[in-house]
């Protein structure tokens, strides 16, 4: 619980120049004092000898810092020990901390959880942090930083403001029927909600791309058996990811290679060659390959000279048709590659990169199913409210219930709304009361 003080090595294992140990909780400064003497001034670093409080033995010379609650990552008192990165030093410090009263090793994610619970980060920011830690490419990192910076939270907050304003206008009509509320108040609501609805819809479709940036675009290599898909994949990956042989039908499981393509994460899929199956096992592999190829964001159709088959997989906008085994010749123009010699691979990669970057431009800020579900829910409620407001017989109280529901959906991403917030807006905008 929150009154426990937790600690953990924040940096990776093994030998390193520096290792950082973080301590968070009410006893963080006591722990720091026990190891390093009086804590340094707030937000100042100090060079100190760390001494085992039990036997007085010097463990390490370290840089120590203190962040007092609530202005810290977790919102609690936080101490940081910047140790020399030896495994032995880390073990000694961890042992010394464990023996202190009220201190324990943190569970995975516990620092972040405390930051969330203490309101230092909202859920969208926590998700962004997780994404940043996992980011492998520039686009992923940019997107994650956007979340941490609160861009999704800010957008949600702007939507909320507009919805609260709309709700305030509704409240003015419903709760102050006897006052001289201007006649056009109902009409004023629509222009508040329409842009929000449009933005929500844009964000929902953008979130599909954003999710791709987070999880990676999938590019499927489609081609007849033995056309050289696996050889190409290996060239792309620069390593032997797929088992390459000249026996047709070797690749039965789908093999994935993750790569960074111009800053975008891409998973290239190599799958069973598409041909009439020789046995049940291969048939299953082929069915899986077709389904997977259909689901992928892009397909690269590898075809030998003179071949024009799509092998039961639909060609969609943006897909590439590429000549295979270019080293054997037969391609006058167009894209052609040779996995064996590497000929044409760069050109294919360039086309792929351009296509994916074109798509990534429309990316939204929301990148998770959870975030998309919340926005979808919110937009459905706003849409219902608009419907109720401007029906032949307007049902204002139901529209208000819908708008409340949309606020709740947005609360799923950020803070809370209460009726006082709505009444504040009502009173700021209308002259009420007799």
């Amino acid at each position: 619980m929150t009154e426990d003080t937790i600690f953990a090595v924040a940096t990776g294992g093994g030998r390193a120049g520096v290792s950082i140990v973080r301590v968070s909780g009410p006893s963080a400064f006591d722990a720091l004092r026990a190891l390093a003497g009086p804590p340094p001034l707030e937000r100042r670093a100090a060079l100190r000898w760390l001494v085992d409080p039990h036997d007085g033995e010097r463990i390490d010379q370290a840089l120590v810092l203190g962040f007092a609650a609530p202005a810290s990552f977790t919102g609690e008192d936080v101490a940081e020990l910047h140790l020399h990165g030896s495994p032995w030093v880390r073990r000694r410090i961890a042992a010394a901390l464990s023996e202190m009263n009220g201190l324990r090793q943190a569970e995975p994610g516990e620092f972040t959880r405390r930051a969330l619970l203490n309101g230092r980060l909202d859920l969208a920011q926590v998700e962004g942090l997780g994404d940043l830690l996992a980011a492998e490419t520039a686009a992923q990192s940019r997107q994650a930083l956007g979340l941490i910076d609160g861009s999704l939270s800010r957008m949600a907050a702007e939507w909320r403001d507009a919805i609260v304003r709309a709700l305030a206008h509704l409240t003015a009509i419903v709760d102050f029927a006897d006052d001289d509320i201007p006649e056009d108040v109902l009409a004023r609501i629509e222009p508040m909600l329409r842009p929000v609805l449009a933005e929500m819809k844009r964000e929902i479709s953008g979130s599909l791309i954003a999710e791709r940036i987070r999880d990676g675009f999938e590019v499927a290599l489609v081609g007849a058996p033995n056309v050289g898909k696996s050889t190409l994949l290996n060239t792309l990956a620069g390593r032997d990811a797929a088992l390459v042989s000249t026996t047709a039908g070797t690749t039965r499981d789908v093999i994935e290679v993750r790569m960074d393509l111009g800053g975008l994460p891409v998973t290239v899929l190599d799958m069973a060659g598409l041909r009439p199956a020789q046995d049940d096992v291969e048939a299953a592999g082929i069915a899986r390959a077709r389904a997977r190829a259909d689901r992928a964001d892009l397909r690269v159709f590898l075809q030998q000279a003179g071949e024009h088959r799509t092998l039961g997989v639909t060609v969609r906008d943006g897909d590439l048709v590429v000549g295979a085994k270019a080293d054997l010749g037969g391609f006058a123009d167009g894209l052609a590659v040779s996995g064996r010699t590497g000929e044409g691979v760069d050109a294919v990669l360039a086309v792929l990169r351009d296509e994916l970057q074109r798509r990534a431009v429309g990316a939204g800020t929301a990148s998770r199913e959870r975030q998309r579900a919340a926005i979808t829910q919110a937009s459905a409620s706003v849409s219902n409210a608009l419907h109720g407001l401007y029906a032949a017989a307007p049902q204002l109280e139901l529209a208000a219930a819908d708008l409340q529901a949309s606020l709740q959906a947005l609360d799923f991403l950020v803070g809370k709304v209460d009726v006082e917030a709505i009444l504040d807006v009502v009173f700021d905008n209308f002259c009420l009361g007799k």
């Binding site: 619980m1 929150t2 009154e3 609530p70 419903v174 029927a177 006897d178 009726v419 009361g433």
Partner: protein, 623 residues
């Protein structure tokens, strides 16, 4: 010294006090009400109207628990209007213009009809406290009353100060030693005080108004009354007049704005934003060139008109100028000038949800003293305080209405959890479960509870049972008959042509359906009276939304079922910010749900509180 003994003593004879005394008496408690004059019971000191949106909901709830306000308003009503009549049932609020003399008489008759309900014409000067507990009250004329529970409903008497322009006068007996002692006692008990203000318009002589040039506002053709037991208005029905302020009025106000008590820095307490003075309206909404003013007769006899909309604390000569600038009021005679009043209130966060003061068991507070405004808000609190005072005296479980049950529950929860920053008035938007808390179903929500509690008299019991039986019978008949989509369309209830049969009850939820047409097609339903059909329609109209909200109601009730120990020590609780520690200590939430509604509460803090409560061994769910 003369000692008398009662179960419950109510101090104050306003709307909170009368409702409290009548409620305690209905519960079977030996009850006394102490007030200066019996003839002042039921006095309407401000506008001559009862009900409205939100407020009408409260009146219906009071009525459902067999309280006085709705019945008395119907006895005295001279104009009835159902506000939001053209909108959905959840937003409709019944309202009545009331003859003040008839209203007083109706309330006083209720007291006279209860021979053993004592009204003592005296003044309470102090609480009598023995050891740590409340023993009763001391009276100005030297007597004392012993009681197990005392309900204080003293309105604005705490340091009340009236302002007209730069002139200030003490309200009531402010400064009089007797009244000062009770005020000091309230301070000594540690009840935190705050300051608020409100205002009232000048009163006009009806005979000096030119009604012929004014727009007329009539009552409804088919009046909807406030009590479930009333069927028609009794008094002669009249119209109100409507006039407007104009640029000349606004000019007068602007030119003299610094002479207003509100703007002359004489008053510090915050006033209500929804009932602003005309000065406020002109300053804050400078772009508006006219404001509505309703001219409401204060009764059938007498000649006083209440100009609703021009509450002011300008000096009398300026009040006259602004009144005379309006159409129809050119020659109006001001009988009494408008004024602003500033007064102390008790921070209601010092109370629990029975309206009992946490610092002194047996002491209950209700009405304007708790920072509310309005007759209805006062009466709703009086009812709950009176019932709980009786429960305490009779050693029975207290009554707490929750936010999904009643507007009264919403109001009290708001007061004791959030406190007030301006005089608190009810709005339907304060109720998150507005669709189920309707004025039309207050009896269906509360009367059965009142019967089991013992505060509902025989007449209402039988009327209620008759109504519920009728509804039940009609509902099961309507549920038993189902029709195909084409038939539904012919009956005026168009639905998707999906071939599915729908019951008549389901068809009632189709927008625009006419229950008369629908039921009229089936002989077995022809005997269902129109009032029952209409009520089924209102119940059905929100059914899909209510089903969705049921989850939220369940969530509310789950958190409300987790009790927090009264003595939980929040100050210094590790992991809680100093701000939250102070707020929790001030509010002392009774349940986890209430704690969650404190402003600024975080999920982490709630988890921590829950854990502490479990350690204290008292967070077991209650029934």
């Amino acid at each position: 010294m003369k000692h008398r003994r009662f179960d419950v003593v109510v101090v104050g004879g306003g709307h909170a006090g009368t409702e409290a005394a009548l409620a305690a008496h209905r519960m079977g408690a030996q009850t006394a009400l102490v007030t200066h004059r019996f003839s002042g019971l039921g006095e309407m000191s401000c506008n001559p109207a009862i009900g409205g949106i939100g407020k009408g909901h409260i009146v219906r709830e009071i009525d459902a628990l067999d309280g006085a306000m709705g019945w008395a308003a119907d006895q005295a009503g001279i104009q009835f209007r159902l506000l939001n009549r053209s909108r959905g049932p959840a937003t409709q609020g019944p309202r009545a213009q009331v003859d003040r003399a008839l209203y007083r008489a109706a309330i006083q008759r209720m007291f006279l009809a209860r021979a053993d309900l004592a009204v003592i014409e005296d003044e309470v000067v102090d609480l009598s406290i023995q050891g740590d507990s409340l023993a009763g009250v001391l009276l100005a004329r030297g007597g004392a009353i012993n009681a197990a529970a005392v309900v204080l409903t003293t309105g604005t008497f705490l340091r009340g100060m009236i302002h007209i322009g730069a002139e200030r006068t003490a309200a009531g007996r402010f400064g009089d030693p007797a009244s000062t002692r009770l005020a000091e006692r309230i301070g000594d008990l540690g009840l935190p005080l705050g300051r608020l203000k409100t205002g009232t318009p000048p009163r006009l002589d009806s005979r000096s108004i030119d009604w012929t040039v004014l727009q007329e506002q009539r009552g409804d053709e088919e009046p909807v009354l406030l009590s479930f037991l009333s069927d028609r208005p009794l008094a002669r029905q009249v119209s109100c007049g409507v006039t407007h302020t104009n640029p000349a009025t606004h000019g007068v106000i602007r030119a003299n704005i610094t002479r207003s008590a509100m703007y002359g820095d004489w008053i510090v307490g915050p006033g209500p934003r929804y009932c602003p003075s005309i000065e406020d309206k002109v300053v804050r909404f400078a772009e508006k060139t006219a404001h509505q003013v309703f001219l409401e007769p204060e009764g059938l006899t007498g000649h006083v008109t209440y100009p609703n909309g021009i509450s002011t604390s300008l000096p009398p000569d300026i009040q006259a100028a602004l009144v005379h600038s309006m159409q129809g009021l050119e020659k109006a005679i001001i009988l009494r000038p408008g004024y602003a009043i500033e007064y102390d209130y008790v921070d209601p966060r010092a109370l629990d949800r029975t309206l009992g003061a946490r610092c002194l068991e047996g002491l209950f507070l209700a009405g304007q003293i708790n920072g509310t405004t309005g007759y209805e808000e006062a009466a709703g609190q009086g009812l709950i305080a009176g019932l709980n005072a009786a429960c305490r005296a009779l050693d029975r479980d207290p009554l707490v209405l929750d936010r999904a049950q009643a507007y009264i529950g919403v109001m009290i929860d708001d007061l004791v959890t959030k406190g007030v920053t301006e005089p608190y008035r009810m709005f339907t938007s304060r109720a998150e479960f507005r669709l189920q808390l309707r004025a039309d179903n207050a009896d269906q929500r509360l009367t059965a509870l009142g019967i089991s509690l013992g505060c509902v008299g025989a007449r209402r019991q039988s009327a209620f049972r008759g109504k519920i039986d009728g509804l039940k019978a009609a509902r099961s008949l309507a549920a038993a008959i189902s029709v195909t989509p084409p038939v539904a369309a012919r009956l005026g209830a168009p639905v998707t042509s999906d071939g599915a049969r729908r019951s008549l009850l389901e068809l009632l939820a189709v927008p625009g359906v006419d229950p008369g047409q629908l039921f009229g097609a089936f002989p077995e339903l022809s005997g269902v009276p129109p009032s029952v059909r209409e009520q089924l329609l209102r119940d059905a109209s929100y059914a899909p939304y209510l089903a969705r909200q049921a989850l939220e109601v369940a969530r509310l009730r789950r958190d409300e079922a987790v009790r927090l120990p009264e003595r939980l020590d929040y100050i210094g609780m590790p992991g809680l910010s100093a701000e939250l520690q102070a707020k929790l200590d001030r509010v002392r939430p009774a349940t986890l749900g209430q704690a969650g509604r404190i402003e600024g509460m975080t999920p982490a803090a709630l988890t921590l509180i829950l854990m502490r409560a479990r350690q204290a061994g008292a967070a077991a769910p209650v029934k």
